[in-house]
């Protein structure tokens, strides 16, 4: 057994200016990574997983210091390295693949230049040899157009391709250890499969050691040999992947497992509630929101009146009172455009939209205040959806004032009652957005949509930016609110399990069109359209070996040629 590449001994990291007695960022970390091994660090935001992973690069975020312990890479303590030694280490013996490949590449340089940069910087090979190595890597990673992709710029390739190129950049210098920082979190599920498979193949073939940081157990189960579970800076549990998945010892691991899979929990929509809604549907035949043949796009209009970029092509839907309509699609499917068109933020260029029996005009300027009140939209990123300079009370109070016409005491009471409904304490009304956690901010976001007593709320990827555990809580909250208030919800997501947990009916969108529509359970168990089948089979399941099966299954699914391009990565 050769010596471990990475050995972390009793690592304790604290914030430099922390008040005495406040908890350390990470504590008591003991970790070993052997050559060719993939160790996953799994936990939520704030668990310390990124801090530990980055320490292998000898990097601590500004303001953090090591109080105790060592981080040994090939026997040397990287946290004690000086500048030149660190530079010799990074990109050479230890490499890094970041979460957002788009942010990791310089938009002003060609891809080839950037992929070769580590090799050339560290003088590991002459230029022509570096180029050959890069081409080999492109081939191994399954990238298209291997000869010419190097001369392209980052914005000219897709997200999945960029992520692989980032891996090529990391691999080029033949490092001993690669640190993957949530590399597939920002990708669609269909892309994620191919990228994961590429990573796995590459790591195995070159016997590189790797640390894989993620919050998604199902993804990690596909690629890691060992899993380390972190909570609040401490290791909860560590062991071989198969063992942790089959016999988790600690409660937190079990909580994580429940949150990330099995991939689809259609059973989560209790049969009784869908039955109840069915009878509601019979007695209220008028849909609360009805759209026919919506057309919308971006960019300048051509001679035929169509936009340069058609985002929606003849999309129709019906939302009944008290029911949830899920909209599933990946990037570029038009689902966010649909949300904006329904809310009036993006004027449609064709089709009809009815709220009850009233025709809604395309833009918000011509909609009445009452119509604006009845259709509310909840955005994905609560960070940018809440004005950082307003207190929660002001945020919610303004909606009450503007759309309901209440002020003073009546307004304050309404704000307090809505905070209670989303399970936040009334004292939060005096807090600012930055003081809240991600899940709490999303609850405020929801509260803002609900406080005006709307008929329809449109949830645009409301759980996508959240960790798996917090996501579960928000889904439960939506469930609860739907039950209590009889809300009609349009739930837009790329995450099938979220939609499966809440929606009775679902639409599947691809490139601006609805390719399949119907009851959720039917769609999940008997998908008709090829794309739906690919989509459903791409959701990672919490068992080892799923990845290989899915890749094999995908090559068997008959895809019409146009569709193959759509999923090409």
């Amino acid at each position: 057994m050769s010596a471990p590449i990475l050995q972390i001994e009793d690592l304790v990291i604290v914030a430099e200016k922390a008040a005495p007695g406040s908890p350390p960022i990470v504590t008591g970390i003991n970790l070993t990574v052997n050559p060719g091994e993939v160790v996953a660090l799994i936990g939520e935001s704030g668990s310390g997983k990124t801090t530990i992973a980055l320490s292998a690069l000898g990097y601590l975020r500004p303001g953090l210091v090591r109080r105790r312990g060592k981080v040994l890479v090939n026997g040397a303590d990287v946290l004690s390295f000086d500048g030149p030694t660190l530079r010799a280490l990074r990109g050479n013996r230890v490499a890094y693949v970041s979460q957002s490949a788009a942010a990791g590449f310089n938009p002003g340089l060609t891809i080839g230049e950037q992929v070769m940069e580590p090799v050339l910087e560290h003088r590991l090979a002459p230029r022509h040899r570096a180029q050959e190595r890069a081409l080999e890597l492109f081939q191994e990673l399954g990238l298209p157009d291997v000869q010419r992709i190097g001369s392209r710029y980052p914005h000219e390739v897709s997200g999945g391709q960029l992520q692989r190129l980032m891996a090529a950049m990391a691999m080029g210098s033949g490092p001993d250890l690669i640190v993957f920082d949530e590399p597939t979190t920002a990708l669609d599920v269909t892309t994620q499969i191919s990228v994961l498979m590429s990573f796995k193949k590459l790591i195995r073939e070159r016997r590189t050691a790797a640390i894989y940081v993620s919050h998604d157990l199902a993804v990690v189960a596909q690629i890691a040999d060992r899993i380390v579970v972190l909570l609040d800076g401490e290791i909860q549990e560590a062991g071989a992947t198969s063992q942790i998945i089959s016999q988790p010892e600690c409660d937190y691991t079990r909580l994580l497992m429940r949150a990330s899979g099995p991939g689809l929990r259609t059973a989560a929509v209790p049969a009784s509630s869908s039955r109840r809604s069915k009878t509601q549907q019979d007695t209220t035949p008028l849909p609360v929101l009805q759209a026919s043949s919506l057309v919308a796009g971006y960019g300048p209009k051509g001679a035929d009146g169509k936009h340069a970029l058609q985002a929606l092509s003849k999309v129709s839907l019906r939302l009944y009172r008290g029911r949830v309509l899920g909209v599933i699609g990946e990037s570029g499917s038009g689902k966010s455009t649909l949300a904006r068109v329904l809310a009036g933020l993006l004027p449609r260029t064709g089709g009809e939209l009815l709220l009850g029996d009233q025709l809604l005009s395309p833009g918000i300027e011509r909609r009445s205040k009452d119509q604006l009140r009845r259709v509310q939209i909840v955005f994905q990123s609560a960070d940018t959806a809440l004005n950082p300079k307003h207190t929660i009370g002001k945020l919610l109070g303004r909606v009450v004032q503007h759309l309901l016409g209440l002020s003073g005491q009546a307004c304050r009471e309404k704000v307090a009652s809505i905070l209670e409904m989303v399970q936040l304490p009334a004292s939060f009304a005096d807090r600012y957005g930055q003081e809240l956690s991600g899940g709490q901010k999303q609850r405020v976001n929801l509260a803002r949509a609900l406080v005006a007593d709307p008929d329809v709320i449109i949830c645009d990827e409301v759980t996508s930016a959240l960790d798996s555990v917090v996501r579960e809580q928000i889904i439960e909250l939506l469930h609860d609110l739907k039950r209590r208030l009889g809300l009609s919800i349009i739930l837009i997501s790329h995450d099938i399990s979220t939609v499966a947990a809440l929606a009775e009916d679902t639409l599947v969108m691809l490139r601006g069109e609805v390719v399949e529509a119907g009851p959720t359970q039917d769609i999940l168990s008997h998908p008709q359209h090829a794309y739906t089948r690919v989509l459903i089979s791409s959701v990672p399941q919490l068992r080892t070996g799923w990845l290989e099966e899915a890749v094999a299954k995908r090559s068997v699914i008959e895809l019409p040629p146009g569709l193959r391009d759509a999923i090409a990565v």
Partner: protein, 291 residues
Amino acid sequence: MAESTPPAPSRGDTLPKARFNLTWPGRIGAAIISFWLVVAVTGPFLAPFTLAEFVSDNGFAAAKGKILLGADYLGRDLFSRIVHSAWLTIGMATVATLIATSVGSALGIFAAIKGGWVDMVISRVVDTFHSFPTLMLGLVIIAALGPSAALLILMTGLIYSTSVFRIARALGMDITVMDFVQVARARGEHVGWILFHEVLPNAATPLVADFGIRLSFSILFLSSLSFLGLGVQPPYADWGTLVRENMPGLVGGSPASVYPALAIASFTIGLNLVADDFAASSGRAIAGKIA
């Protein structure tokens, strides 16, 4: 599952709150500014002589006893004149800069929110005024309309509002694409609310930093006008006037012209030191929002 406890203390996954800390240069700058503000307010009551009092029969008499810095070209106490004219100098520049910042910010953010042809028209008009060299524009206007204090202030304010407009518009464009502005729009809020309640509070920090820098420009501009004889007229004086009128003494070796120049320099340098600190911390704050 109620979340009734506040979130655990930040584990370093979020940036620490950007605090406005004064570095040592910043503290020196703040001290200088405070000194001059105190002088401007209390000086007229504590100065040994009044603005127009003669203390010597000789111009440019040397410093002696109560005459701390010597006499000016007419034989008046230079120190007292500097002290007495502090409030006019600082006051005029402050009001002018307030005008520049408020007009420029409001117009800039309005253009950013409205977009389209409204933005285009406003931007082109502002560009036109911005392209005139400021001093020349000032001279032309004063020559045409006469140098009254109100006109000086208004003119300086409007001239500098063009620069603030650009900054405010750029800030506004970044902020209006944020989701919370979309949410406000979706609610049917009108431009006024969006401008003052949604966008402006988020643009405030860099605009305040700009105010500090703009203030020093205003002082220099007004002093330059006075230096050229087109600014504040006798019997009033500001520091620029004092520099101008005592310049002939330089030939004879009298430092009388240098003292008011030092006053101008020290105040503007102090302002810049503080504004630098403010800009640095606002840069951190903005980086935190983007990241």
